[in-house]
């Protein structure tokens, strides 16, 4: 919860406090829209009476502050969910553990790409070699491309945690860059609505 100081008389402060409570009440309960009100399901169709509501499933999993509001990798590692890795018995399930450091020369902190968390969900062929060459350093990354839905942005920003979470990828401080990184990557301009 962001604390801000409002200069003024006690009555005015009370007034602002009331408005803040009303605003947070309006935002409350909006984490997972019901299917009837999500803007894409036909509320007059039969499906909304049958299909599982997102809140029923997602509220039980490790919470996040973005995307589906679920820490999907943690949820998998904790055993809260146990999704199948194959349909066909002869499919080879490939896990790969090595980390790759990227963005070694940029201004932002270094990116640590963990193969382990990615291969828990994905197969090698989902990324190699059409998105990224298998050889370290052979692929030129571009944040612009990622924001346009290419490279990492094929998933991040669409189904996996969104591109607002800069420091989940840019997670390794450069040598000599001793200051700890803020937990929120983006400065909130004065007067903006604080994120949930």
């Amino acid at each position: 919860m962001r604390v801000f100081i409002f200069p003024g008389k006690p009555a005015q402060r009370r007034f602002v406090a009331v408005l803040a409570v009303l605003a947070s009440a309006a935002a409350w309960g909006d984490e997972w829209a019901s299917l009837r009100k999500d803007g894409i399901h036909d509320p007059r169709g039969p499906a909304v009476r049958v299909l599982q509501e997102p809140e029923v499933a997602l509220s039980k999993l490790t919470p996040d502050t973005a995307g589906n509001m679920v820490r999907w990798v943690q949820s998998l590692e904790k055993g809260e969910i146990n999704p199948r890795a194959n349909l066909r018995p002869d499919t080879k399930i490939r896990l790969y553990e090595s980390d790759v450091l990227l963005n070694l020369k940029g201004g932002m902190p270094i990116v640590r790409f963990p193969h382990r968390q990615h291969t828990l969900w994905l197969d090698c062929t989902n990324c190699h070699d059409h998105l990224f060459k298998a050889e370290a350093g052979a692929t030129k990354f571009s944040m612009l491309k990622i924001l346009e839905g290419e490279q990492c942005g094929v998933c991040h920003g669409a189904v996996s945690f969104p591109l607002t979470e800069c420091f989940r990828c840019h997670s390794v401080a450069r040598p000599g860059d001793g200051k700890p990184r803020p937990s929120l990557p983006i400065a909130i301009p004065a007067g903006a609505v604080p994120p949930k």
Binding site: H41, D42, L51, A57, G67, N68, P83, C155
Partner: protein, 128 residues
């Protein structure tokens, strides 16, 4: 601040705050498929990634079943599904409901364009 002024401030500000409060949106990663559905007289399909990834890892559909990771790039018909390809690998009455349960998948509002929607922080990459 005088009484009536305060009253009018409240009257104007509260709906304003409600308007900027987060709106109910589709779940992050929900996909609308409407390349053919409405032309064929049924509702668009809503595919919820969240529901499926609780039960299957990405690689099941995107490696074993061959779904490309770009909305609109998988050109398949109901006949493919009935014959066990794409969604039909599971939606066969054994793992999940069979393809004759039309309304459970074809559950979208009419007029929706094909695309990936939803999201609490971003609406997805621009070209989607």
């Amino acid at each position: 601040m005088s009484g009536p002024l305060k009253f009018w401030c409240l009257v104007l500000l509260v709906p304003g705050l409600l308007a900027i409060a987060p709106q109910a949106t589709a779940e992050y990663g929900d996909v609308v498929l409407n390349r053919r559905a409405e032309k064929e007289g049924v509702r668009p399909v809503i595919f919820p990634h969240w529901f499926h990834r609780i039960r299957f890892r990405c690689k099941v559909c995107h490696a074993e079943l061959g779904f490309k990771m770009r909305v609109g790039s998988n050109d398949f018909k109901m006949s493919d599904i009935v014959e066990g390809r794409f969604c039909g690998a599971c939606h066969n009455g054994e793992i999940a409901w069979p393809p004759d349960q039309c309304d459970l998948c074809h559950s979208g509002k009419r007029g929706l364009p094909t695309g990936i929607v939803g999201g609490h922080e971003t609406g997805g990459p621009g070209r989607w």
